[in-house]
Amino acid sequence: MDRGIATAFQRAATGLNPLRMSGTTLPPNLLMAAKLLVLAYVLEDQLGDLPDGFLPFVSYLGRFNGSVYYRHALQAIIVGAALALWLNRAVRVSCLLIGSVLLLAILSSQPYYHNNLLYIGLFFVIAGLYDERLGSLLFRAQLAVIYLGAGLNKLLDADWRTGAFVQDWLRPDHYETGYVYTHFASLLPGTMLSALLSWTAILTEFVLIPLLLVPRFVPLAIFVGVSYHTGLVLITGGSTFGMFWYALVATYIALLQWPVRMVVNYNTQDELQLEVDKGMHISRFTGVAAVARILLYTPVFYIACVFIFTMSADIVLVTYALIFGIAYCYVPRIKAMRERLWKHASDQKHASDQVRV
């Protein structure tokens, strides 16, 4: 009996472990993404910016104009739900509460409206609505709509098509990297570099739509999406566009196919070897590719990144280093594929030459 009670306490305590991402109604990577995003939200001091009912979208909320109690109530709900989320208690309800409060905050004040804050609210609502039979469909559909809106807005704007927007946007008085950008832009005639960047952004956003909506292309969508948004951080000298970079990367984390088991050991050549079991197949990696994947699937790495990134250290370096490490293992595969295609083409040519003779 005593052992049973002790075991129950131990199980409860293990369940309260904030670093534990499994054992809830959300898949591990989605739970981790939600925890990371709410942590980033707090560390970026967004709690203090929650509004009262000043100039609301919904007129009823105007009665809270100037009310510190309203603001504190919003903050208290988010903090309480965030703590519950981190302690793995009622994770769905916590996500729905956080998301609902963030959306309510936006409806409470028109000056508070920003696309990045709207998306965080929607992220948590969608996380709370997760169902294993829907899988990642809602997240992928949400991202697709965002890229459709953003892509259309750019495509239909003449200043985007000509590069005039980028040329002005990346001025030194807007972003520090403007000094470097202006120098490179002057090496090409007119606004050519700016137009190139504009069209890269437009095409990337439109390409991401089918990549997200077709399940087999989702890994490629993750690679393209994270690279693209981190590229924007690079080009602006560290701007995360409020919470946008955090929210979008959290979403891409939620789209990852999370392993059910990982085994780390050393092979006969003394190389670090990683075996990743995703249920349907087992993949093996060595060296750099193995290290990158160990980091990719380790929650503590992401938590450390959130602390580092919110203290203004290098998002770009860490993110691109991880992308490089993961993509590295595909280099030999791409080489092998290329050699096979070359051999196939060469065999076919040889066969057709023999027929002619």
């Binding site: 028109q110 953003a150 001025r171 566009f241």
Partner: protein, 130 residues
């Protein structure tokens, strides 16, 4: 702790989650297509047009003939008097106008917004309620 539901409850939950979730996404899709493919809604709220504008602006306002200081403008509109705005300039204009329409009361307010959009020459927008 996970609660285990019967098949009927699980199916009902799936229907509710899918309906709400897809409903949210579809509503956004309708807004995106309406806003971007028609001439309506130049302020582009809820239509996913993030950080697509480069607007350097300055707000000047007077209340009952008295010009407002920078800090008074910030308190009144919850916006910096001089700033860099990355959303549609119509949204900025709308915020200033609606603030006064909602809270001005009997005050006579005149607003002058000067801005440069995407590097073009300076433009002016004015609004007054009397």
């Amino acid at each position: 702790m996970t609660v285990h539901y019967g098949a009927r409850t699980r199916n009902a939950l799936l229907v509710v989650r899918a309906t709400v979730g897809l409903g949210l996404v579809l509503a956004q899709l309708v807004l995106v297509l309406t806003v971007h493919l028609s001439s309506c809604c130049k302020e582009r709220y809820f239509a996913w047009a993030p950080n697509d504008y480069s607007v350097d602006y300055q707000i000047n306002a007077s209340v009952n003939g008295r010009p407002l200081s920078g800090s008074e403008i910030s308190d009144r509109y919850r916006l910096d008097q001089v700033g860099f705005w990355e959303d549609p300039v119509e949204r900025l204009e709308g915020l200033l106008k609606r603030r006064e329409l909602t809270y001005a009361g009997t005050d006579r307010v005149t607003i002058l917004l000067e801005y440069e959009l995407n590097g073009r020459p300076t433009e002016k927008w004015t609004w007054s309620n009397g």
